[in-house]
Symmetry: C2
């Protein structure tokens, strides 16, 4: 599958209701995007595929869902408050701020060309919110910059309420927020974005092995979502990029996006930094990472092994995927313009079945014909009960057009109800397959079994 | 079902991993809560039940998912920027701010008793975020105070990409944020909360009928989630509380919460206010509501009826549920302490099956016995594939304790694998029902069919 131009994907996403610019009618808000009727289903499906693999199909991972607004102490001890910033230069004439490391020419303004610039100073990437009833500068909180911190601070809550033993993990998906100066590449770098992160807590010394295990599980998962193996690679962070507490071979699963190779999911050995930095009574433990002295935490985030009696701060292997980036990757692989011969062509979105926004479209051959419509609605309602996802009743009366539209949005099956369906005994309908474009006649009594079996396959 | 004390529910939620205080290890952040391993499943199930009813099972509603951060112009024209505030009084001595209408004694500070108070002034409920690269006071955005506005501004995007005709609706769930001065009553009034809102766009003149239709659909839905009819009522807003653009009988579905009757879901006739206020070229349309003159919108949010040629701004019937409030209501109904006779009792969470966080627990009779564990894991994996939700493999070796714990968290079925399961031909296991506490022996080959049929019923 060739790499698509980002512009093609962006235009397609808007036209077909996958993704719209955020705050669209007011000229947009840079770096924000809304998911339309098909995008929301695609995203729900990708999210649920992640949850199923990471929580349901394992016996050692719990789920959690934390708030977006959180106490500033979390971000003090996580290290974000001190260091999560970019060096910005401000033009004193036009007031544009630029990342110093991204400036075209470090001696003049990218926008107006003025040389009247400030010294570089840190611009904070966390979004701050004033809140609460007391009027002072201290009463603020942060929008979370990652979901992981909510997981760490709930380590003991989860362990106590589920009686989990090490090794075990905690999975969480949800929005995170970063004040990106230069949002770019469509859904790739935005000011709010959905993460799907799992923190796996292990005994020190077993971390390297678990790192490899999770790297492989996560790579396989992306392939199952339709990404080509040749478009995926693992890139260890270079010594310069490695966060001070991380342990090699910490790095990223990269995907070959339309704009080039870039991060899709981080696979990180975070050592005992996170639980160590947030724990009470740090001196009781032999914390290997360099952590800030914690004078605020009210809870010990340690683990007492009931068999060996060892008492330690667990290491964390983190797998941190970008769901919005996943959406671009999945669409990039699935979108195809197919030559059908004789000068004909079609656009087809070859999504994996489990990701398709609409699973089945039920189309009466003629519009508004009461008997056809009644039968089509009945078939739709029966299929909807199977719990496969969205089944669409489509009363447009133009079957050819419906096939083309559903090819384009990736609907695996179209069912057409025609006048023969009303007369035949046993009654039947036409099933049309997105990928093969083949049509076959199926008895209506068998349609649930047919559809269920179809979606059971890969 | 008697009304439970809120304290009982709060303690239960923490102990069993449903809900934890947000930012817990740092003493919390008032008005924020995290959902633990069981709470996240309950919430996912309630959310999905809403989506299924509101999108999948209808032929006239589309889904959408908008950003949390949005352009300030949205909130200017929605009216929130001007009027979404509470009158606050500040104590000049201790700097406590109080809502004037909630003060115990309007002449002195609730906290320190000082009479040195400011005049009341509006305290804004929207949360403001500074953002963007240009350094000035203009460059801010708001965290959304409701999901509805994202829906309104995407009205034309959705209509254009789906070819919808009036009447149709757009559904959306997600977090909203309000700077509540006095968060209270557990999940009831918090600073961030999940809404599940659907905006239904109708022709003026048909709005009263649609209002009644949706009021009934929504009340029935709550009953299907396990709420008693006697604990539900519809309360129209009094003329004093009615927003200026709303049309009676706008009001709320109220539930009898542990703290008393209070709003669970709003059912609102919002007239043509929303699309009218956000539309470009307002003068082209006969807008009935009083709207601010819009000099920024780049899009007309009108509807041209293809059959009658009528060109109008649609009315909106909004159904706006609080999912977190729904969680309290559902738990309040389900939580029971049952007298079993002979001085015995149990706590049981009689959740509707589709809401249960864990659908089935598979328990080997003895802990760590390789053959029992292997068979139990096999049964777990087979049941997990049915797509019913979370199936738990529980290797604790204490069946009696497992039954009690799963009663308490609402697991409908426990399956026990014992030594007979290994020897018998055909092999069988014990199924134990949460509500009846009855046990029966089922052949393992039949277990998928048994479980599927069980969950098909109400």
């Amino acid at each position: 599958m060739a790499v698509k131009l980002m512009e093609t994907l962006v235009a397609f996403c808007k036209r077909r209701g996958f993704v719209f610019q955020g705050s669209d009618i007011y000229g947009g808000l840079k770096g924000t995007y809304d998911f339309g009727p098909l995008g929301v289903e695609l995203k729900k499906n990708l999210r649920q595929a992640w949850w199923t693999t990471m929580v349901y199909e394992r016996d050692d991972v719990e789920g959690i869902e934390c708030t977006h607004i959180s106490n500033k102490l979390i971000w003090k001890y996580s290290g974000h408050e001190d260091s999560f910033s970019d060096p910005l230069v401000e033009c004193k004439d036009c007031h544009t701020r630029m990342r110093e490391d991204k400036m075209v020419d470090k001696t003049k303004c990218d926008k107006c060309g003025s040389t009247n610039l400030t010294e570089p100073r840190p611009f904070h990437l966390m979004m701050k919110i004033d809140m609460g009833p007391v009027a002072n500068d201290e009463d603020y909180a942060y929008l979370r910059a990652e979901t992981a911190q909510g997981t760490y601070i709930n380590f003991r809550n989860v362990m106590d309420s589920t009686s989990r033993k090490i090794p075990f993990g905690i999975a969480q998906h949800g929005q995170s927020f970063r004040n990106e100066i230069t949002p770019r590449n469509f859904l790739f770098r935005t000011r709010e974005f959905e993460q799907a992160e799992m923190q796996f807590f292990v005994e020190p010394g077993t971390d390297k092995e678990w790192f490899e295990t999770w790297k492989n599980i996560r790579t396989d998962w992306w392939i199952k979502q339709g990404l080509s193996e040749k478009n995926l690679r693992f890139e260890p962070h270079s010594p310069d990029d490695l966060v001070f507490y991380a342990k090699p071979p910490t790095g990223d699963i990269e995907y070959k996006f339309p704009h080039g190779w870039d991060e899709l999911e981080g696979i990180h050995n975070r050592t005992d930094y996170d639980l160590g930095t947030h724990t009470k009574n740090q001196k009781e433990f032999d914390i290997q990472a360099t952590v800030k002295e914690n004078t605020h935490s009210n809870t010990k985030l340690n683990y007492l092994d009931p068999q060996t009696g060892q008492n330690y701060i667990p290491f964390v292997i983190e797998v941190a995927a970008g769901l919005n980036r996943g959406i671009i990757a999945v669409l990039n692989e699935a979108y195809a313009e197919e030559d059908l011969g004789d000068g004909k062509s079609r656009i087809v979105l070859k999504l994996k079945k489990h990701l398709a926004p609409i699973k089945v479209a039920v189309v009466p051959l003629a519009k508004n014909n009461p008997e056809l419509v009644a039968l089509a609605k009945d078939v739709k309602n029966r299929l909807q009960k199977l719990g496969l996802g969205r089944i669409l009743f489509e009363n447009t009366g133009n079957v050819g057009k419906a096939y083309r539209r559903h090819d384009e949005v990736g609907t695996p099956l179209c069912l057409t109800i025609d006048f023969e369906s009303l007369e035949e005994k046993p009654a039947s309908l036409t099933v049309r397959d997105r990928d093969t474009m083949k049509q076959e006649r199926i008895e209506i009594d068998q349609i649930e079994t047919y559809v269920l079996n179809y979606f059971k396959g890969e």
